[in-house]
């Protein structure tokens, strides 16, 4: 389903093509520029590096489509990763650890949603508070000391397994994408998310429970964030209250880079995948080319703004 107006759409070309073009161009550029980029071990590494951003950006896509924002994502990932690591350490049960990860995500998301929707606090403020509080709780309960993950089964299940030679975390991300894409495009809930974000008043007058949908979006995003935390500690081998700083900003950048409207109602998960790939390939390629990390920040910032500027220009004429 194409959900926005563009000159490309009038010509029946999906408007995602533009972002996809940039991803391919960047991929080809780094393949030529660095001898280390296009080989199986680097591509596996690229996939693993990008999974956390991808899963987080999926959650952010739902939030932004519904017309809200979530600044607490990075802090919540670090807090939930502590919960999961403690559950794993104390019970040894992977099932319980996963349940706690996803469950606490739903709980935190619901708190964000209820304060925003019922309490009528702008989500920017609600999640700014959660951003600070979640990180604080994570630091307090660990005393700022990381918890190592010593459960080999857990590490195998979420990091080391390579079915068909593909990193297992990448497979989780792909399956999650498929499920969420279906949810967003083929269910009443998904259509309601677009309607609520596009025009809350019209949605309400059409019989859609606007407040309920928004709280559900926050809860769903929380569950996805919980899953991101589960993957994250398996990759790092420990749960630290210091990880995932600025993750929310990268996730927002990926969503917007994909072309999803920052004001809600227009966009898709496919676009977000392209935005994530753009950032992921850029990070990986610049590292391989030994570009100074200060310059990496500058280049990334410039590309994000330029890409959105370009998108506005090409869309501007069709209104």
């Amino acid at each position: 389903m194409t959900t926005r107006t563009s000159s490309a759409q009038r010509l029946s070309i999906p408007s995602e093509i533009g972002v996809l073009g940039a991803v391919i161009a960047l991929f080809i550029f780094f393949s030529l520029a660095s001898p280390f980029f296009f080989n199986p071990s680097n591509l596996t590494n690229l996939g693993r590096q990008t999974v956390l951003l991808a899963v987080t950006a999926f959650a952010m896509t739902f939030i932004i489509l519904s017309g809200e924002i979530d600044l607490s994502v990075g802090s919540v990932v670090s807090l939930i990763s502590i919960f999961v690591a403690m559950a794993l350490r104390d019970s040894g049960s992977i099932a319980l650890a996963v349940l706690i990860g996803v469950g606490s995500g739903v709980l935190i998301g619901t708190i964000n949603g209820v304060i925003t929707v019922i309490g009528r606090v702008p989500s920017f403020i609600t999640t700014l508070g959660m951003f600070s509080a979640a990180r604080g709780i994570a630091l307090a309960i660990t005393n700022a000391v990381a918890i190592p993950i010593l459960n080999d089964d857990y590490l195998f299940l979420f990091q080391d397994a390579r079915p068909l030679g593909i990193a297992v975390s990448v497979i989780y991300a792909v399956v999650l994408f498929a499920v969420l894409h279906f949810l967003l495009t083929r269910t009443r809930f998904g259509i309601s998310v677009y309607a609520v974000g596009g025009n809350a008043k019209a949605a309400r007058l059409s019989g859609i429970g606007v407040r309920r949908v928004k709280i559900e979006v926050f809860a769903l995003a929380g569950a996805i964030i919980g899953f991101a935390a589960i993957l994250q500690i398996a990759r790092l081998g420990s749960a630290s209250p210091e990880v995932a700083r600025n993750l929310e900003l990268d996730a927002i950048a990926a969503v917007v880079l994909g072309g999803t409207s920052f004001t809600g109602g227009r966009g898709s998960l496919i676009r977000t995948v392209f935005g994530v790939l753009l950032i992921g390939i850029l990070n990986n390629g610049m590292n391989l080319m030994n570009i100074d990390s200060y310059f990496q920040f500058i280049i990334k910032g410039a590309i994000i703004v330029l890409a959105v500027l370009l998108d506005r220009w090409t869309r501007g004429r069709s209104g």
Partner: protein, 522 residues
């Protein structure tokens, strides 16, 4: 150099204006203005003299607002001349109008809630000492302004401590400070009580005594005859008549405002009118809805007429569960019901097409097909999963049935014309097969052809046994499409009548009937 001796009277009626003696403060001569598809003003002339209240009257859409927007510099005329003190002047923008001593007071107040009275009165004109605001001088000047107008309001009072009437007075004080020539008041009493109106009229007398000209726009007859020195009537963008207020009678004024030929092209189908489906008793909501009772019967189109601000939209939103009333009962099939949200009303078989198509009827970020199914998602879904086939079939059936001209159902709704957008909103509700259909200004802003199609559709829906409530500010539409007409004024139902024998004058008399009610109730 053009002085007042060159000035010629603009109106060739039997009533000569005193323009031989006095140069008008502002004169608009043969002003024309067109918008795509509409000639909003056609060679309209209008002027205001020092110390006079000149009332501008006309139905909604007669061209009053357009004329005032030209005077305030918000629009540029296509042709015609504006004279300020007899000098031809181009008013380039609202700031320029302000500099020329012309101030506007709109229906919606433009005060800043977070500031106090004094800062509002002198907003943008704060006295300074060096680079800093001279607060003492500011409050002293504000107090002077308020005092000169006979207003007993503390300049230090925070604005949110004032009631609507006091806010209106502060708004006028602010305008009076700036205006050296003309103040335009657009429906200034719409939010005032009777006693606040008296304060306003006293204030107007003081402004007149200071030699200002006042252009006063109002629909309320009693008020018009009370304040007017002269009255000008506009109709369909044309100047109709200018006379001293004493030379008009009330019925004459109404007849001049309506004037046009009555369009009865719509075919009434005369299906059988059945049982009462939805009934409202004694609805109240703040000051907007004071007492509304009405009943809607199967197969009948009820036209709800009234002036803008009569409370019709609020009443409709209460029936649809979008707004909760302070008091009153809604009965469905004779049983009391409570609609806590539109979702409740929709489940009960009620549909509502709002007047604000883009702001409330459609989700502009979504394609035609999604907009069309948005009110009936549960009908195209199975356990929450949408059936692509059911959606395609529904969309195809209704685009064909209502003749919706869209290149593709997947195209963005923004790209459709107003008429086709409105048909999508109608299809969205008709696809639910509602028992009660509430339409708010169903043909606003759509072209003549689409309008005729919508009118025919409304009759067809009623013939199938749906109870229809149609709010409209267009009298010909009310008269031609309805079976029965209910008229509201100032939040009350002031009367109802069969549409067959009704005339525009009958409806207008009831729409202007609020003064009578006010006198009995206040």
């Amino acid at each position: 150099m053009q002085g007042f001796l060159d000035w010629k009277p603009l109106h060739h009626s039997s009533f000569e204006r005193k323009t031989f003696m006095t140069t008008p403060l502002v004169a608009l001569e043969r002003i024309s203005k067109s918008f795509p598809g509409v000639k909003a003003l056609d060679e309209v002339s209008f002027e205001v003299l020092p110390g006079e209240v000149h009332v501008l009257m006309g139905e909604n859409g007669a061209g009053k607002s357009t004329l005032m927007k030209i005077l305030s510099g918000a629009y540029q005329p296509d042709s015609g001349t504006i004279y300020i003190d007899g000098q031809p002047t181009a008013i380039t923008d609202p700031l320029h109008a302000n500099q020329l001593g012309i101030a506007m007071i709109y229906q919606e107040l433009t005060l800043l809630d977070n500031l106090d009275v004094g800062r509002n009165v002198l907003l943008g004109q704060e006295p300074t000492r060096g680079a800093l605001i001279d607060w003492r001088a500011l409050y002293a000047q504000a107090a002077d302004t308020l005092h000169a107008l006979g207003l007993d309001i503390d300049p230090h009072a925070p604005l949110d401590a004032l009631n609507m009437g006091e806010r209106q007075m502060v708004e006028i004080a602010r305008a009076a400070r700036r205006a050296s020539r003309v103040i335009v008041m657009d429906e200034p009493t719409s939010s005032l009580t009777k006693s606040e109106e008296e304060t306003l009229f006293a204030l107007i007398e003081r402004l007149k005594a200071r030699g200002l000209g006042i252009i006063y726009i109002s629909h309320r007859m009693d008020e018009v005859f009370r304040v007017a020195d002269w009255i000008t009537v506009l109709r369909d963008g044309r100047h109709i008549e200018t006379r001293p207020a004493s030379a008009f009678t009330r019925p004459e004024l109404i007849a001049l405002m309506v004037g046009r030929e009555i369009d009865t092209a719509v075919k009434r189908t005369d299906g059988a009118i059945g049982q009462v489906i939805l009934e409202a008793r004694g609805l109240r909501l703040g000051r907007r809805v004071r007492d509304v009772s009405l009943c809607l019967r199967a197969g009948e189109v009820v036209g709800l007429a009234g002036l803008v601000g009569a409370g019709r939209t609020q009443a409709a939103e209460i029936l649809f569960g979008a707004t909760q009333p302070d008091a009153g009962t809604i009965l469905l099939d004779g049983k009391p019901v409570h609609f806590a949200s539109p979702a409740d009303a929709i489940r009960a078989g009620i549909a509502y097409v709002p007047d604000d198509r883009k702001g409330a009827g459609l989700v502009l970020t979504l394609p035609v097909s999604t907009n069309l199914i948005l009110a009936a998602l549960e009908r195209v879904a199975n356990a929450g999963v949408l059936s692509i086939r059911a959606i395609r079939e529904t969309v195809a059936a209704w685009t064909q049935r209502l003749n919706i001209r869209a290149a593709s159902p997947r195209m963005n709704i923004e790209l459709l014309s107003g008429g086709n957008q409105q048909k999508v909103v109608l299809a969205k509700w008709l696809s639910r097969q509602p028992r009660v259909l509430i339409l708010n200004e169903p043909t606003r802003g759509i072209d003549v052809g689409a309008k005729a199609e919508v009118h025919a559709l409304i009759r067809e829906i009623a013939a199938q046994g749906v109870a229809v409530l149609m709010i409209s500010s267009e009298l010909p539409e009310i008269l031609s499409v309805s079976d029965r007409i209910v008229v509201m004024a100032a939040g009350r139902v002031t009367g109802e009548m069969p549409a067959r024998d009704a005339t525009e004058e009958d409806v207008l008399a009831l729409a202007f009937a609020d003064e009578l009610i006010m006198e009995h109730s206040v």
